[in-house]
C-alpha cells in the first residue's frame, strides 16, 4: 500500500525551506580564495553572485499553516464535515528543532533532502493526534510547472517528496473515523506513506514570503515490502521538449503514477506534480479536457476510461492532485495488459505509460558513503503496476545529472570511476520484482582537493532497452563518496581541524552571530555545544554540520580532538602551517582568484540566462553534465 489508495487524507498550506546558498558555488569550498563578500547576497546580474540569494539561511524546513483539506475512507467514500479530521492541521515537531534541508553535494544540488522531519496531525490547539518520523527523502521529478509570466527559475518549478512515516504514536483520535481507519490499517507494518509537492517558492529577499512556497500532499498507509520513495504503480513517461530550466514535457504532463484498485473498481492517478499552473503556485492551467484512457489491442488511439475534472475550484488544494476515475469490470480487465495514456484536449501529444508497462527504479536514490561502505540499493521492476519477476537490470555510471560549471578550476565529477564499484548486470528480480544493486565505495583519493570526496551517478535500467525508450532523467542514483581523512596524531587544531571548520564557517554565515568556527578560541568557548552537536545522529535536526556532508573519518577525528584536552583544559592547538606552503596543482592557474565571474554560471548552457542567474536549483540544473548541446564535460 501507499498514499495512492482509497484510504488517504490530503493537506495543503505553505512550507518553508531556508537553505544557506553560499555552498551553491563549488569554488566557495576553497578556503584560500574565499572572500568575506562571498557571505553576502548576490548583486543583481551581471554582478558578482557572491553568496547567492540566501547566504544567511539556517537550513530550517517547516510545514506552515497546513490544513487537512480532504480525505477518503477505505471503502472509497469521501469524508464529510462530520469527520473531525477535516478540522485538523498537519504540522511538524513540537518537541524538537525544525527539520533541516541539505543538498547532497555542491555538485549535486538537485536531490535536496529533508532530514529530521517529525510529522504531526493535531487539532487547532496543537493537541497531537498522531506523530511519526518522516524518513529522510530527496525531491525528484522537478519540472517547469508554472506557465506564463513570473514563472522563471526555481519560482516556477515544482518537485515532489515521498517517504514513509514510522515510529507512529497515536493519541486521542477525537472520534475521527478516517484516523481510526488509518491507525488500524497501519498497525501491521507501523508505517504511513506520505507524499507532497512543493511549488511557488519565493526567492525574493525581503518579501514576507521569502523562502516559503506552496505545499499540497497526501498521507496514507505504507507497506514495508513496497518502495518507500515511489509508488510501484503504472508510470506515465513524459518526454522532454526543448527549453525550460528543469524539464518541460511535450504533452504538458510531467512524470506521474497511477494505481488501479481492482477491488473498488477505480484508477487513482497522482497528478499533483504533473499538471501546469498559471503562474507560480497558481491555479491549474486550463488545457482542455483531461482524459485517461488506454491503448486497446490493435489500436493506436486512446480508448477513454473517463475524464478528470482538474479545472474545478480548489481541485489542487483539496485533492493534492490525486484524481479517481471509476472503472467497470470490463475496463479493469482491459487495462490489465494495456498501456495507459493521458490526453489533454488542447495538447497534441499524449503522455503514455512506459512501453509494455515496464518500469525500473531505485528506491533510495541518494547515498553518502565512506570508503569501505557498501550501499545495498533496492531496485524495483514493475510491469503494468505489478511486480516484474525475472527482469534483467543493468546499471551504468552516468554523471549526466550531476553538475559542474564551465569556469576553470571547478572540480570535475564522477572521477576516478574506480572509487565506486558495482555489478553492471544485476541478478534477475525475484517474485517481488526486486533486485539489489550493491555499490561499494573505495577512497576517491581527494580528486576535488578542497571539496571532500566525489559525487557519482549510477543509472539502473532494463537490459536491452531500446535507444528511444522514454527515460526519466531524474531516475538515477546519486552517490557521494567521502575521502579517507588523514590527520596528525594526536590530531590538533592546526593539524587537521582548522581547515574543516574554516570551510563550515565560510559556507554557513548564520553561525557568525554566536560562533566563529574558524577561530580556535571561539571553538573552545563553545566546545560543549559543539561536541554535543557533532556527536548527534545525522537524522537529528540539531546534528552538525547542518549540511550532512561530513565524512565519518572526519567526524571521528573531530570528536577525538574535542575529547582530548590538553593541560589548559582545551583541545590541542598544534602549530600553524608555514606561510607560503605549496598548494596542490589543481589550485594553480585557475580563475579562483578572480574577483567576480558574472554570468559564468550559465554560459554554454541553453537555458534562460536570467532565470538561472538568480541561482538556486535553476542554476544547478543549467550546469548538469549532460544538459543541453554545448554544456557538459566534453565542452570543457
Amino acid at each position: 500500500m501507499s498514499y495512492l489508495a482509497a484510504l488517504r487524507l490530503h493537506f495543503a498550506g505553505q512550507f518553508q525551506a531556508a537553505p544557506s546558498t553560499v555552498n551553491n558555488d563549488p569554488l566557495h569550498f576553497d578556503n584560500d580564495t574565499f572572500k568575506p563578500t562571498d557571505k553576502l547576497p548576490s548583486l543583481p546580474p551581471p554582478g558578482d553572485p557572491r553568496g547567492w540569494w540566501n547566504p544567511r539561511g539556517n537550513a530550517d524546513w517547516r510545514f506552515i499553516g497546513c490544513r487537512v483539506t480532504g480525505a477518503s475512507y477505505a471503502d472509497g467514500t469521501r469524508a464529510t464535515a462530520e469527520d473531525p479530521v477535516l478540522r485538523m492541521v498537519v504540522a511538524d515537531a513540537d518537541r524538537r528543532a525544525a527539520a533541516k534541508m541539505a543538498d547532497l553535494d555542491t555538485e549535486q544540488q538537485l536531490v535536496s533532502e529533508i532530514w529530521g522531519l517529525e510529522v504531526r496531525i493535531c487539532d487547532g490547539n496543537g493537541t497531537t493526534v498522531l506523530r511519526g518520523e518522516f524518513a529522510p527523502a530527496a525531491f525528484i521529478d522537478i519540472w517547469d510547472r508554472a506557465q506564463g509570466p513570473g514563472g522563471g527559475g526555481d519560482i516556477g518549478a515544482c518537485a515532489t517528496y515521498q517517504s514513509i512515516v514510522g515510529d507512529l504514536e497515536w493519541g486521542d483520535l477525537g472520534g475521527s473515523r478516517l484516523l481510526g481507519e488509518l491507525r488500524d490499517a497501519a498497525a501491521d507494518d507501523g508505517l504511513l506513506s506520505m507524499r507532497f509537492n512543493v511549488d511557488g517558492y519565493n526567492m525574493t529577499l525581503g518579501s514576507p514570503d521569502f523562502t516559503r512556497g506552496r505545499i499540497a500532499g497526501t498521507i496514507g498507509v505504507a507497506s514495508a515490502s513496497e518502495p518507500k520513495h515511489f509508488v510501484a504503480g503504472r508510470q506515465f513517461m513524459a518526454r522532454a521538449a526543448s527549453g525550460g530550466n528543469f524539464f518541460k514535457p511535450t504533452g504538458s504532463i510531467n512524470f506521474c503514477t497511477a494505481l488501479v484498485d481492482e477491488e473498488l473498481g477505480r484508477i487513482l492517478i497522482d497528478l499533483g506534480n504533473a499538471l501546469p499552473t498559471v503562474g507560480p503556485g497558481g491555479p491549474q492551467e486550463d488545457l482542455g479536457e483531461l482524459t485517461v484512457g488506454y491503448v486497446a489491442a490493435g489500436e493506436s488511439k486512446l480508448t477513454s476510461l473517463g475524464v478528470i475534472d482538474y479545472r474545478a475550484d480548489a481541485w489542487y488544494p483539496q485533492s493534492a492532485g490525486v484524481a479517481e476515475v471509476a472503472l467497470d469490470e470490463a475496463q479493469v480487465a482491459a487495462i490489465r495488459e494495456a498501456e495507459l495514456g493521458l490526453s489533454l484536449s488542447s495538447v497534441t501529444s499524449v503522455t503514455f505509460e512506459s512501453p509494455g508497462g515496464v518500469y525500473v527504479k531505485a528506491d533510495d536514490f541518494v547515498h553518502r558513503l565512506d570508503p569501505g561502505d557498501v550501499a545495498e540499493v533496492a531496485i524495483f521492476a514493475t510491469r503494468y503496476g505489478r511486480p516484474y519477476a525475472g527482469a534483467e537490470i543493468v546499471a551504468v555510471e552516468d554523471p549526466s545529472g550531476l553538475q559542474i560549471q564551465v569556469v576553470p578550476g571547478d572540480p570535475d565529477v564522477g572521477t576516478p570511476g574506480s572509487a565506486i564499484s558495482f555489478a553492471k548486470t544485476l541478478e534477475p528480480t525475484g517474485e517481488d520484482g526486486r533486485a539489489t544493486l550493491r555499490i561499494e565505495a573505495g577512497d576517491p583519493g581527494n580528486p576535488r582537493v578542497f571539496i571532500d570526496g566525489q559525487v557519482f551517478g549510477v543509472r539502473p535500467s532494463l537490459a536491452g532497452q531500446a535507444a528511444d525508450y522514454p527515460t526519466d532523467p531524474w531516475n538515477f542514483i546519486s552517490v557521494l563518496v567521502f575521502d579517507e581523512f588523514k590527520a596528525d596524531e594526536p590530531i590538533t587544531w592546526w593539524g587537521g581541524v582548522q581547515p574543516v571548520f574554516q570551510q563550515y564557517s565560510n559556507l554557513y554565515p548564520v553561525m557568525d552571530d554566536f560562533l566563529d568556527l574558524s577561530d580556535y578560541k571561539s571553538v573552545c568557548a563553545n566546545l560543549d555545544l559543539l561536541e554535543l552537536a557533532f556527536d548527534l545522529d545525522t537524522g537529528n535536526p540539531n546534528s552538525m554540520p547542518v549540511t550532512r556532508d561530513l565524512a565519518r573519518s572526519k567526524r571521528a577525528a573531530i570528536l577525538r580532538w574535542m575529547g582530548n584536552r590538553g593541560p589548559d583544559g582545551n583541545p590541542l592547538l598544534g602549530t600553524p602551517p608555514p606561510p607560503g606552503a605549496p598548494k596542490p596543482a589543481i589550485l594553480t592557474g585557475t580563475a579562483s582568484g578572480a574577483t567576480a565571474r558574472p554570468g559564468a554560471w550559465v554560459s554554454g548552457a541553453a537555458v534562460s540566462g536570467a532565470a538561472a542567474a538568480r541561482g538556486g536549483k535553476a542554476a544547478a540544473a543549467a550546469r548538469r553534465v549532460g544538459f543541453g548541446t554545448t554544456g557538459g564535460r566534453d565542452a570543457r
Binding site: T69, L86, D92, D528, L529, A533
Partner: protein, 423 residues
Amino acid sequence: MIALRAELVENLGDLEGLREAVQKAIELEHATLPTYLYALYSIVPGHNREIKRLVKSVILEEMLHMRLACNILNAIGGSPVINRPDFIPTYPGPLPGAVEGGLTVPLSPLSVELVENVFMVIEEPEDSLEFPGRIATVASAVTIGQFYTAIAEQITKAGDGIFTGELGLQVTGDLGSYHVDPITNAASAVAAIGTIIEQGEGTTQAPIDAEGELAHYYRFAEIVHGRYLVANASPPPDYSYSGGEIPFEEAGVRRLVVNPTTETYAPGSGARRANDNFNYTYTSLLKSLHATFNGQPDELMTAVGLMESCKTQALEMGRLAVGDGTFAGPSFSYQPVNPWPERLTYVLRFHRPPYPTGQAEPATTASGLDVTTMLEGGVFSSELNLVGGAIRLSCRWSSRRTRTGRCSSSGERSASGMRARAR
C-alpha cells in the same frame, strides 16, 4: 527587590502546599529568562561583549535553578508542569507569585536603566551588601531568597520521609560547567536551594557564592557601574566597583520593539511570520522541557537544541526593521501550532421562549468544538479556532430542537434562524 505574596509560604506545612510552592519556584525561575534573553538578543553580535558575557552567565544559572527546582519537585513526589499556556507570564507584567503593584518585568532591549531598574531588582538580596557606588534599594518585603529559605526550612522540618519520588525522573549529571547531583533527602534538597540562593543573591557576608562567583545581583550592578566589583587590597570595604571598565556601547544594541505581542507585527508581514516561527519553537522548548522533567531526562539535550534554535531565530529577527527605527523581537508567546489558525468569534442569535421563574435553564452546548461558551439572554457567543471545513453548532433548549449552522471564515451565513457572524 521582588516582593512575593505571603500566601506562597503559608501552606508549606501541607505536602501538597510544599509541592505547589516548588512549582511556583519553577515558574519564577523560568519567568526571568524571557526578559534576560530579550536583552541578550538585542546585543549586536560582536558588540558589548563583556555585558553579554555577564547577562549570559546569569541566564545559564537561572536555567540551572529551574532544573534544580524541577529535581526537588520530582524528589518530593510532585510533577513539574511546564507545558501549559499559563506557564508563560505576560510581559510586561509581574513575576509569578509577586504582589500586586510590584515590579513590572518587560521585554526590552538592553540598557543600563533596564539592568538597574529591573534585573537588579529581580535579583536583589534581602540585605544587599553596601559597597561604594552602590545604588539605593527599594524597601524589602518577601524576597525570592526568603521564599526559598522557607521552602528549605519546611523540607528540613518534614524530613527525609517526603522524598518518595522516583530517582530516574531527575535530570542529573554534567551540563556545561555545572554538575547536578540527585536529590534524595532533605539535606541534598536544602543544598540545592542553597546553591540557588547563593548564586542569585550571594551570602550574607560576601557578594560571592561558594564557588567564588559573584551573585547575579552584583554582576548586574557591575554593568550599571560600568566596572567590575573587585576585592579591595586594604578593606574595609571588602569590595568596590573599581575594577576594569565594562563599557556599554549603545550603538551595539539593536532597538528591538519594547514589549512585543503577537499583534505587534502586522498579519502577513515577515516579522509576524518570524515571530510565529520563534513562538512555535519556544513552545516546543517548553514541551520538551516538560517531557525532560516528567520521565524523559535524556530529552534535555533536545531542549538544548531548541534553545539554540530560539537564539538563532531571535538574532535573525533583530535584523527585520519594523518601522520607527525599531527591529523585531520575539514575543515569547504560547503557540502550539504554526501559525495559529484564524481566530474567530461567532455570535449566534436565536429566539427561545422565556423560562418560568425558578425553573433551571437548560444547558446550551456547542458540539464538536473546544470552546468556552457563554449564554447572554438569547445571544450565544463562542470563540474558537477554525481549521477549515464546516462547523456544527448545536443549541438545545426546551423544545429539544437542534439547529445546525454552517460558518465560514468570511461573510455571513445563516441557517434555521441562527445567524453566524465571523469577526
